[in-house]
Symmetry: C4
Subunit: 270 residues, 4 copies
Amino acid sequence: MSGMNIKKLRDRLYEIIFEADTRTGKIFDVILLIIIFISVLLVVLESVPGIRKNHHDFLVISEWIITGIFTAEYILRILIVKKPAKYIFSFYGIIDFLAVIPSYVGLMVVTYQSLIIIRIFRFLRVFRILKLTRYTVAGRSLVRALWASREKISVFIFFVIILVIIIGTLMYLVEGEENGFKSIPLSIYWAIVTLTTVGYGDISPATPIGQLLASFVMIIGYAIIAVPTGIVTAEMIKPSTPANTQVCHNCLYDNHDDDALYCKKCGTRL
Amino acid sequence: MSGMNIKKLRDRLYEIIFEADTRTGKIFDVILLIIIFISVLLVVLESVPGIRKNHHDFLVISEWIITGIFTAEYILRILIVKKPAKYIFSFYGIIDFLAVIPSYVGLMVVTYQSLIIIRIFRFLRVFRILKLTRYTVAGRSLVRALWASREKISVFIFFVIILVIIIGTLMYLVEGEENGFKSIPLSIYWAIVTLTTVGYGDISPATPIGQLLASFVMIIGYAIIAVPTGIVTAEMIKPSTPANTQVCHNCLYDNHDDDALYCKKCGTRL
Amino acid sequence: MSGMNIKKLRDRLYEIIFEADTRTGKIFDVILLIIIFISVLLVVLESVPGIRKNHHDFLVISEWIITGIFTAEYILRILIVKKPAKYIFSFYGIIDFLAVIPSYVGLMVVTYQSLIIIRIFRFLRVFRILKLTRYTVAGRSLVRALWASREKISVFIFFVIILVIIIGTLMYLVEGEENGFKSIPLSIYWAIVTLTTVGYGDISPATPIGQLLASFVMIIGYAIIAVPTGIVTAEMIKPSTPANTQVCHNCLYDNHDDDALYCKKCGTRL
Amino acid sequence: MSGMNIKKLRDRLYEIIFEADTRTGKIFDVILLIIIFISVLLVVLESVPGIRKNHHDFLVISEWIITGIFTAEYILRILIVKKPAKYIFSFYGIIDFLAVIPSYVGLMVVTYQSLIIIRIFRFLRVFRILKLTRYTVAGRSLVRALWASREKISVFIFFVIILVIIIGTLMYLVEGEENGFKSIPLSIYWAIVTLTTVGYGDISPATPIGQLLASFVMIIGYAIIAVPTGIVTAEMIKPSTPANTQVCHNCLYDNHDDDALYCKKCGTRL
């Protein structure tokens, strides 16, 4: 009877922690999401010199409360899951572990430099949020459209990389090291800054020929931005599901609408 | 008889002031639009030091004429509307009130600082213009397309926010405080400036690794701009009206395909 | 006989100069296009201090040759056209006149300042090129798509203008005159620079709240660039002409392809 | 028998080196691709002053190994191909030659300046990579969409060029040489930087009228970026393959609609 209750409780907790279909499961996920956001916010704010100095105690205490919650959650997940080893070595299992460990390691580490390195691991908690977005329908449809166009976008990015290498080399030869184009890698960096229309202005052409070449690059960049847009839009417009699989018994016409009751070609009842 | 006339006048004024279907109603709206634009223009011009000094009297007089018109309009609206309380506490009722009150409050306030704060409320008059755009067909169709894609755009912006947090943290670690990336919030600000291809150049990477990372960010930004475009375009392409006007004689179903020979609801020959 | 020949010559010249359907008419237009381009190039090059000094004679002589050609062409047009007055006061008639007159006026004008003002009129020759683009099929289809979406794009630009006024005023209040946001018009200029993702960096937010607000502006700008793209794309995708107007005698099906010889619904010869 | 073997070997090598359909042919292409990438990477890295000084010997040796491989490949191609002359003077034949020759010429050349000029020829190896992208299906579909929209994009770029000439001239007149707009070509360069939303900030308007004009340019640039996007998207959405594989038994016409019951060319029942 007691074993039965423990099994029941375990099943219930499994539903809450690992699934997102039930109401309590959803509430659990949302609360977790908020805690992750607060945790990320703390890391972000701690990096501001003024806040680090003036609110040191508040940051340390919040840090340990959040670490405590994540530790409890991590242990609970291991206890509840049917195959603990599989969870521990799964992608999100490793992230859950990495989200907890830095605070404990931080106790032993002294230098500020090392603490910053640790911070980046703690930051992986953000990927937990990405897991949650999987649940929304809109997110899934976006991911599907991007996934379907991955090949074309790769070819496009490959083409852009070759283009910026060529442009970068040309600009290095045209402008030269005295105008800020100190090496081909730096010129390629400039070419990317220009082609993507970011345009910092930390490096900009000074000779007339360089400015003419840069003008071509900008107009090309302005025109080829149409390519990824075209790819993704074409993918999004595609109907996501086949209309349906009904076939008319009489004339075998098979492209019926979802709401069709009779075949639109011969009038037979479907 | 006199009560009848007053009722008639009230109904007529109601039509003019609150509705935009009749010709006089439209003229009223357009005149109001022009006054709001002049009022906004005055606030904008007053902020220019040279104009504030040289045209002080003109600005004050214009200000009071406009405040007078808005006050008269506000009182008229309250008198005419059937349920004054409902109007007063509605969104546009509050805006109408806030558009009027700053000038009167300004009489009692002395410091220039406070006047600036008041100015921002006066500026809300602009939202009255937004109300008018609702009337145009084109505006409505744009709003409909954006509204239909609100979910996907939210997911996209959510994803962009997570991305800039990750990129900002990485750049803070890579570039460090000596290259202008003084804190993670500032690095996130840089990441947004870069990903959206704005590129002020107030902060830009100085180390080779930072520039390499920035190059990735720019190419990603260049590629993912396709996503919101794809979402909105896909929404706008969706047919807004039924394809044809055929109606089934038998069941009166009216959403037939162009090439349908039989009604797909009841099988009657079209 | 002689009068007959003059009429014939006049008709022939009319065809060449005013129309673009015949081979000689096209050659005339292309030669004119090249001369206009050279003339524009001369104006552009003359503005470079070095070129103005070193190639002064070459520029003056070329200038007068081109003015001579344009003058001859202008007189010829007046002589040949049936209703000279109508041509002279038409849009392109006025441009043709303004393209010629500056050089003559320049003889009497002494100061360099005035010459620059004249130059801008001479530059209107470029619009003659725009007239020629009308001829290409591709150009016409682009203009048609833009024209069809003029209403939606106007609403969009109207919305963007209101948005930048609101953002500019907010930034003026947040950043203040000490951070470069010296007046609301200048702040609006900054808002446009940021929202359109141009980002010069001549003015950029310095306070944390200003940078947060700027981040919102940038993400909004990044998202709403989808709107004009969606409008134009939706317009371009629309089939430009109805398939054709053939109707089957037998079954009255009317959506036949251009290359259809038989009705695809009942097999009757069209 | 031996001649037979040599012919067989030659055919086999031809398959590997010139074709990409067989497995060994693909492996050959991929290895070549990697060597080209390494070769490009060496040119890029050599331009960095620090690397050029510290890793001089490594760069020289790698350079000669790669030149050796390319030389061997070039000779092999000439030996194997049926018409050597045709290959040698083909586009890729010339590139293969230019990819090899600079290293040998470099032995005789002394000045560093000349070496940089040579380097740009060596860089043409990159075009060999472009040849390979032809093989992927995704690349071909992108190229097809861009090729189909070449006319409209040309008209668009032509229109943009006229626009930036007009804007550049106006800004030269408005801002003048004292605000950085030193000549019309430089002002046109500024107009391109602004219209394409790159926005370096090396030149930016300083007068109120200049900033107003720049605001218009930015909003126009923001709106017309929709045009190339619309063109390419419209092209990409077009169905690339015939809808079905039905072939008429009578006239062998094979481009029937999905819902066709009779051949639209000869009226035979499908």
